[in-house]
Amino acid sequence: MRQRVGWTAEESLPGRGEVLRLQGVPAQLDLPPRIGALLEAALAAYREIAEPRALIGGISREEFREVHRGEGRNAPETPLETVLAGAERLALFVATVGGAVTTRIHDLFGSNEPALAAMLDSVASAAADRLTVLLGALPPGPEGGAGANGARALAYSPGYCGWHVSGQRALFAFLDPGEIGVTLNPSCLMEPLKSVSGVLVAGPSGIHRFAPAYPFCRECRDQPCRARNAAFSTS
């Protein structure tokens, strides 16, 4: 079963700190007024045009193993295989903040507003990531909700952690997210650009902990797993 979910732009709005982190601005910085003004303008633009929505569907472990196998191009060992062993529920998802944001970013670059364009890009990226958090908090059910009841639902996506990006094809074939306006191009890139996809894995928080010592971790620039592990140790 699948479930279509929608949010207001306000509900999907990311924290200012997260947007600034994507802009490379340190959290402890006393924010210069001109950067603060830029951030507020980008948040206002996002509120005006974003249309956050998602499609989520529950999937059995066996079905997911097939999806995850994809075209057989994954790394020989991936953390997801270990994470799956302790999972209580799984749900595939595709979520987007909508195409208007990408169009606005493009237009701003074209009209000599690169600072606002880049800031809006960071707002939209952070908002798309926030959609996975919102999806993870949906109540459990056959239509895909994975969160609540003390379980920790975290997202894993093709293109990361050894799951080859070509896995998008199997994921899209299973979920068929055309109804929320998200498509896949021949390079496995989602359109609109500010979209996210993957599997939500719900279970005790400990199952998501792993050491970033896989061969592909050396090439990974942002290593979100480190932030996740840090969050577990303080929660």
Binding site: Q23, G24, V25, P26, L29, P32, R34, I35, L38, I105, H106, F109, N112, E113, P114, A115, A117, A118, M119, D121, G159, H164, V165, S166, N185, P186, S187, C188, L189, E191, L193, E219, R221
Partner: protein, 213 residues
Amino acid sequence: MDILKEIAASLERGEDDRVAGLVRQALEERCAPLDILNRGLIAGMDVVGEQFRKREIFLPDVLIAARGMYAGLDLLKPLLAQEGVPSAGRIVLGSVRGDLHDIGKNLVAIMLKGAGFDVLDLGADVPAQRFVDAAQEHGATVIGLSALLTTTMPVMKEVVELVRARGLAGRVKVIVGGAPVSEAWAREIGADAHGYDAANAVERVRALVAAGA
């Protein structure tokens, strides 16, 4: 203060809305357009770029300065063209076929323009042949390729091979960049350089041009 130093200082301080007015004033004071470009706009953006490299300022500061630089450059471009002034070098830039990400490529374009390069931005989803055709047609000496997906990185190799097949190797150099792209990948496909971020890309392009690309 010397008007050209004032232009540079305005860019450094992020007073982007003042720059066009100062450039206009400098032209009224009969400063040569090339001086305004080199000692005003490029000098200011060089300082901005250096501060960015040292992490003294951040991406939004660079882009606010870039807005000012563009406003000034718009006034100077027709005059520089009239005088036949050459740029620091001509670069063809784009995100490779299948890749619609263009933020990183746009940042590189902005930094290159700020360093005085003439940038022909082909946009996103650009086939290999179009990069090489554009470089030949416009006399570019460097092709810059951006990819954010591992599935699109092979297009970079296609471009390098096409440059060789057309006998342009050495005259047209290829620089690659993007999140999954590494120095090792650049070596593997025979690219001439790898830029790990926008500021580094400018340094590498400068080196390629200086080496006689």
